[in-house]
């Protein structure tokens, strides 16, 4: 078996193992299915009841933001699971097997991608119930979902890197929350970023999360002609910039995570 074949076969074995774990662990499954449902209902009804947007329903405006928020939040499962495995001896077992060393991380991120598909499907269904609609062509919508999944996959490698650097589940959780909350809320997810005061507006406009949300709104046809178009450069080219972000994250964090994995397990 050549190296690539080996890496793929071993990655599939690890991904299957993780998929089984998710099915058996109620806490993980809850995160994948329950959290998206709660997010959609809570944010649509709580904020939607207060805010009137010109030319667009709040459901249409909100859902792309909730998709992205859920992706950013559930990518943390990748990192969290790795810290748990690090604490047990399971990585030692893997490292004494003649398997491809990269398979542990590729398997983990691939199974988390499958999990992300599940949570996006859940959100789409609940979103449709609360009045969200796609107003674009099927091709554009498909590109929208692919773009979300690509970003989700790339972001899993970011949390994997952080997890392998921090090593313990508790520390990882604290750091992840501390980083992901501002990332999600200092964006255009729930408010129009042009309404934010000076420095916050700058941060929100250049936040990759904002770019991804803007791109999703465009691809799902969830924008309003009656609202001012964003003026910041990344938001004016939201779709290509979002794809670029995903590629950059992968290029930087895949090798970094692999290096940290080797270091983390050989202590």
């Amino acid at each position: 078996m050549n190296t690539l074949h080996l890496a793929v076969a071993d990655g599939v074995t690890i991904a299957k193992r993780n998929a089984l774990k998710i099915r058996r662990a109620p806490d993980l499954l809850g995160g994948v299915v329950m959290m998206p449902i709660v997010f959609v209902l809570l944010f649509t009804y709580v904020f939607g009841s207060m805010i009137n947007l010109p030319g667009i329903s709040y459901g249409d405006y909100m859902l792309p933001g909730i998709f992205v928020m859920t992706i950013v939040t559930s990518a943390q499962i990748t990192g969290y699971t790795l810290t748990l495995d690090l604490q047990k001896g399971i990585f030692d077992r893997f490292r004494t097997l003649p398997m491809s060393p990269s398979a542990v991380l590729t398997g983990q991120t691939v199974s988390d991608l499958i999990m992300n598909v599940t949570s996006i499907v859940t959100m789409v269904l609940v979103g449709l119930l609360v009045g969200w609609r796609v107003h674009s062509s099927p091709g554009e919508a498909a590109l929208g979902f692919l773009m979300l999944l690509l970003f989700a996959y790339a972001f899993s490698w970011v949390t994997a890197t952080v997890a392998l650097a921090l090593r313990t589940p508790e520390v990882f959780n604290n750091v992840a929350t501390l980083v992901s909350l501002p990332l999600v809320f200092l964006s255009n997810a729930f408010v129009d970023s042009t309404l934010l005061p000076g420095p916050l507006r700058l941060v929100a406009e250049w936040n990759p999360v904002s770019t991804l949300i803007q791109a999703a709104r465009e691809l799902f046809g969830n924008t309003s002609a009656a609202m001012p178009a964003p003026t910041a450069w990344p938001l004016r080219h939201a779709v290509p910039v979002s794809l670029l972000w995903s590629v950059v994250l992968l290029v930087v964090f895949v090798p970094l995570a692999m290096r940290l994995y080797k270091r983390a397990v050989s202590r």
């Binding site: 399971i90 003649p98 398997m99 202590r267």
Partner: protein, 326 residues
């Protein structure tokens, strides 16, 4: 007979601390080497280097002819390793755990499944095969972990404290399995804190302390280094202790150890039980009340006392304390 495991001058440092400070070991094919030592002595570090989990800072080692650094991948195909933390996945069933290991040894789907069933049966886990490991007892987890090490039927096996934390019955049954493997020709390196375990399983024992091999030999050789069996007697008062010391001096050949606080004294059992009854006869003749008497075989503590000249600290006795290597 060829050597299955060869280590020469292995050194591993963590900052200023040398976990291994020049370790040489050889294990001939089909034999068992027991690594004996207190917590932090370097046993686990040695095993981690030989199983490719760690790179040595200096020295070299081969297992089944493969270099631990240069041929790591091929080496992993011919070894099995079972650690002190049972490396099994809680959410998977016993069968799924073993099948996964089989797949990662590249045995193929069908063979992995067959092998998993064989091993579950052999380790008496068939009833629990399809239950998540979460509900397994400590002994069952250890058995499953050991089964995981055997999936590819490896010619060389590394067992890092395989029975630490197990109850006596689980320990004995694990010993039987290991003895059976060795009978079938497997080479085993085993770390342990229990002299009895090494005694039972190992052809040779290497005593490791502070990163060095300080003694190497069969169990009997090590025991004789410690001075062999001793007779231990306790009395009821300090006056009796003094009287007993005088009475037994002729038997003790200048090697009488008294412990005033515990009202206990020990002498070498040069003639085994005959020395014991001789001692008891002499004490009875002097009307000294003996509270407790017995023939004591050397223990791990004695080995350390004798070999290192230092008190085997409390940690050694607490077998459940995990060796810290991280």
């Amino acid at each position: 007979m060829a050597d299955a495991i060869v280590a020469e001058g292995l050194v591993k440092r963590y900052g200023d601390v040398a976990a291994l400070d020049g370790v040489d070991l050889t294990v001939p094919e089909g034999t068992v080497l027991g690594l004996l030592g207190p917590n932090g002595a370097g046993k686990t570090t040695a095993v981690r280097i030989l199983t490719t989990l760690l790179r040595p800072d200096a020295g070299r080692a081969t297992v089944a002819g493969f270099d631990v650094v240069r041929d790591a991948r091929r080496l992993r195909a011919v070894i099995g390793a079972s650690g002190q933390y049972a490396a099994v996945d809680d959410h998977l069933t016993g069968a799924e755990n073993l099948e996964m290991v089989g797949r990662l040894y590249h045995l193929g789907v069908k063979r992995s499944r067959e092998r998993a069933r064989e091993l579950l049966e052999r380790f008496d886990l068939t009833d629990a095969a399809d239950r998540p490991v979460q509900g397994y007892s400590g002994g069952m987890r250890r058995r499953l972990d050991l089964a995981g090490a055997l999936v590819a039927d490896p010619p060389v096996l590394f067992l890092d404290e395989p029975t630490t934390g197990l109850d006596p019955r689980a320990r004995t049954s694990l010993w039987d399995v290991i003895a059976e493997l060795v009978g079938a020709g497997t080479t085993v390196m085993l770390t342990t804190q229990y002299l009895e375990e090494a005694d039972r399983l190992a052809d040779r024992i290497a005593v490791i302390d502070r990163g060095r091999v300080i003694a190497l030999g069969t169990a009997d050789e090590l025991k004789s280094q410690v001075g062999g069996d001793r007779i231990e007697l306790s009395v009821t008062s300090a006056a009796d202790l003094a009287a007993a010391t005088r009475t037994l001096a002729p038997l003790a050949a200048d090697d009488l150890q008294g412990d005033a606080a515990a009202l206990r004294l020990t002498i070498p059992a040069t003639a085994g039980t005959a020395t014991l009854s001789d001692a008891l006869g002499r004490l009875a003749a002097e009307r000294i009340t003996v509270r407790d008497a017995g023939l004591r075989r050397p223990t791990l503590d004695d080995v350390f006392l004798s070999l290192t000249g230092q008190q085997a600290d409390a940690k050694t006795a607490d077998a459940k304390t995990k060796e810290t290597v991280r």
